[in-house]
């Protein structure tokens, strides 16, 4: 056995060769890490600053010069940039999101609860799990493609329903589908379903077994246990997932473009042409000109108001008149918001054509004129503010959750 030179070993372990350089590398990596983080966070800041700058928001322009004004929120899009606004876009977004939420939240929660609490370990269950995981990775535009193929082209066309269904049903259903708010709502709810399912599963899994055992021990059924004892504790986690899903749906553009969300909508979907407060008759192209200029449409005027013809001449109209108006005319009612609300009926708005905030922004972004880009920036800023607010809420909720609940 050779003797170990203890002093030499001690020397090498205490001062290994090159330690200084290695320590320096170690420390300087922190700088690289921080730099990379700053690039990420800097992007967010640059994004917000760019939008604020382009929309002339203070401090990039004098106070009051901003594109974002009350008029911006309460005007329809227009071929005149100075008159254009996002009224139809935000109303459309709200209606689409409400529809999405009403479909996605119950289904997503039920599915999540099933997978976590009820599902037996078998082939069907693992098929469902694979499907959920894969759905989360499918590009959103493919959801739009599916919706185009099924909800718009088949279910939106009464002629393509099976013959044995009564005609009234076929027409009614076809009215609901097609390029409508309902179709948009279904499409987006399918898109965010995986988000809600996964969030529900995680939240339910986090509830300790003892709570279930206690409920079952005093004679509760499985569903009673789930409903009254598991879900209340899981709810904050579920809500976090729902908020993130909703925020995602709010910003989605591509799937709605696929199903034919319009880029120029100068009417509100809450009312139908002919019985409306604000509306345009016929379909306008992206520049606000009628698609079929020669066609006319017979309209019954239900409120006193002003008709603006495509050549911008105006004409007074009164309730009860029946007129043949060329496509592209706008009926601007002098009726109040109260009248508009009175015409509110889900059966009306669900089947209406629509636009949403991101599509409106996209439309303005794709125009060359600077004034429209300003409008795009303003719409983007509103959209960004809402999504960041929603996500911020979700993060805060998750943080609170982790701090307050300790099992």
């Amino acid at each position: 056995m050779t003797a170990i030179d203890v002093d030499r070993v001690r020397d090498i372990t205490a001062h290994p060769p090159g330690l200084g350089a290695r320590r320096f590398k170690d420390r300087s990596f922190i700088i690289w890490g921080i730099l990379a983080t700053i690039i990420g966070l800097g992007t967010l800041i640059a994004l917000v600053a760019e939008l604020m700058h382009d929309a002339h928001v203070w401090p990039f322009a004098a106070w009051g010069e901003s594109v974002i004004s009350p008029r911006f929120f309460f005007s329809f899009p227009s071929s005149e940039a100075s008159e254009a606004g996002i009224l139809s876009a935000w109303v459309g977004s709200i209606l689409v999101i409400v529809t999405t939420a009403l479909i996605a939240i119950p289904i997503g929660m039920l599915a999540g609860v099933y997978l976590e609490e009820y599902a037996p370990k078998n082939a069907v269950t693992s098929a469902i799990e694979i499907a959920v995981n894969n759905l989360a990775g499918v590009p959103s535009i493919l959801f739009g493609l599916m919706a185009l193929g099924i909800f718009v082209q088949v279910l939106g066309n009464p002629a393509r329903y099976p013959d044995f269904l009564p005609e009234g049903f076929r027409n009614g259903a076809a009215d609901l589908f097609g390029q409508s708010i309902f179709t948009a709502g279904i499409t987006l709810s399918l898109l965010i379903l995986p988000v809600i399912i996964v969030a529900t599963r995680e939240a339910v899994r986090g509830v300790p077994q003892e709570i279930r055992h206690a409920a079952l021990a005093v004679g509760a059924t499985k569903w009673q246990t789930t409903q009254h004892h598991v879900m209340p504790y899981a709810l904050p986690g579920v809500v976090t997932g729902v908020i993130i899903g909703i925020s995602r749906a709010l910003g989605e553009t591509a799937p709605l473009i696929m199903i034919g969300g319009l880029t120029f909508v100068a009417f509100l979907p809450v009312t139908r042409p002919g019985d409306a407060t604000f509306e345009t008759i016929g379909v306008l192209d992206e520049y606000g000109a009628p698609v079929t200029p020669d066609a006319t449409e017979r309209v019954t005027i239900t409120h006193d108001g002003v008709v603006v013809l495509p050549d911008f001449t105006e004409q007074q109209v009164h309730a009860g008149e029946v007129l043949d108006l060329p496509h592209g005319s706008t009926v601007q009612s002098t009726a109040t918001w109260g009248d508009a609300l009175a015409s509110w009926a889900p059966t009306h708005w669900l089947g209406q054509e629509f636009t949403v905030m991101p599509i409106q922004m996209f439309n303005w972004t794709s125009r060359p004129q600077a004034e429209f880009l300003e409008l795009a920036a303003a719409a983007g800023l509103v959209l960004l503010a809402i999504t960041l607010l929603l996500n911020g809420t979700a993060i805060w909720l998750r943080y609170r959750l982790r701090k307050s609940i300790k099992w």
Binding site: K25, L35, L51, L135, P139
Partner: protein, 287 residues
């Protein structure tokens, strides 16, 4: 009640089948007019011309170029952030930075498109001009770059999760041998977490491939064989959106062509999902 719950869950399978069915059935109509060989080998994609040509290659080249640029940005930055957060930063720093960074993934993509077109591209034009490169106002470089920034959180967050799942004892072993944190990170933690890291990168990649609005707004809409990121070019998704924006009558060949493009996209994303799954299984380290 249980039946209802089951139906809700089984809907996921129905959606997957629905997507596959629609894409396949409409593509079949397309392929009864256009041969699969032409679709796969032709290098021209001009479905809206009088003498239409249907080669998917130009669209794929656009998609891959944009994705490549995105990965070139997101992989180094995402991994740097992940290693920094998991091995160097304190828990409070991590708890602040991680959710803030995740906001990047929450920004609506159309807003990113605007940012790419009107902020990043002009900036790049300015920077590249001294090098004699004239960047067109629509280009895949700007679009890909912004796409890369968008997927940083996916890569950073998931890689960081994978790295933190590496047991403490492995790090301690490495420290005991005298390694620094950096050496431990690169020689112990990253290799041990490689399945998760690769999974994260592939997930980010599949997001980039499927991303639509950024490339529609900032990447250009002219399908051509792209050889350089400074060119403009249409991606598979950009073509689909562009066609959907117009008013295409149902049942025409042009209408069906977007489903054929969709099929290519579906195959591509499923393939990458599968590769990620396979890699994770193959290289999973069990502790």
């Amino acid at each position: 009640m249980e039946g209802l719950l089951f139906v809700a869950a089984a809907l996921a399978i129905a959606i997957v089948l629905g997507i596959v069915y629609v894409v396949l059935s409409e593509s079949t109509k397309f392929f009864s007019h256009v041969s699969v060989v032409e679709f796969l080998t032709s290098t021209t994609w001009t479905p809206l011309f009088d003498n239409p040509q249907y080669g998917i290659a130009p669209l794929l080249s656009g998609t891959f170029m944009a994705t490549l640029v995105a990965l070139a940005v997101a992989v180094p930055l995402g991994l740097l952030v992940a290693i920094y957060l998991s091995e160097f930063a304190g828990s409070r720093t991590r708890e602040t930075i991680k959710p803030t960074l995740e906001l990047l993934a929450a920004v609506p993509t159309v807003v990113y498109g605007y940012f790419a077109l009107l902020f990043v591209t002009p900036l790049l034009q300015q920077w590249l001009r001294p090098f004699g490169i004239e960047l067109p106002s629509f280009n895949l470089l700007g679009a890909g770059l912004v796409m890369g920034l968008m997927i940083i959180p996916y890569i950073a967050s998931l890689s960081e999760d994978a790295m933190r799942a590496v047991p403490r004892s492995m790090r301690e072993g490495s420290f005991a041998m005298g390694a620094t944190r950096l050496e431990t990170a690169f020689r112990v933690v990253v290799p041990a977490a490689v399945s998760g890291v690769v999974g994260a990168v592939i997930l980010g990649m599949s997001r980039a491939i499927g991303e639509t609005m950024i490339v529609v707004v900032a990447g250009g809409q002219m399908p051509q064989m792209v050889t350089s990121p400074t060119q403009q070019g249409a991606t598979v998704t950009a073509f689909m959106a562009q066609v959907a924006l117009g008013d295409l009558p149902y049942g025409t060949l042009e209408y069906n062509s977007i489903f054929a493009a969709g099929l290519a996209l579906l195959v591509l994303t499923l393939m990458f999902n599968f590769i990620a799954f396979w890699l994770q299984r193959r290289f999973r380290e069990a502790y």
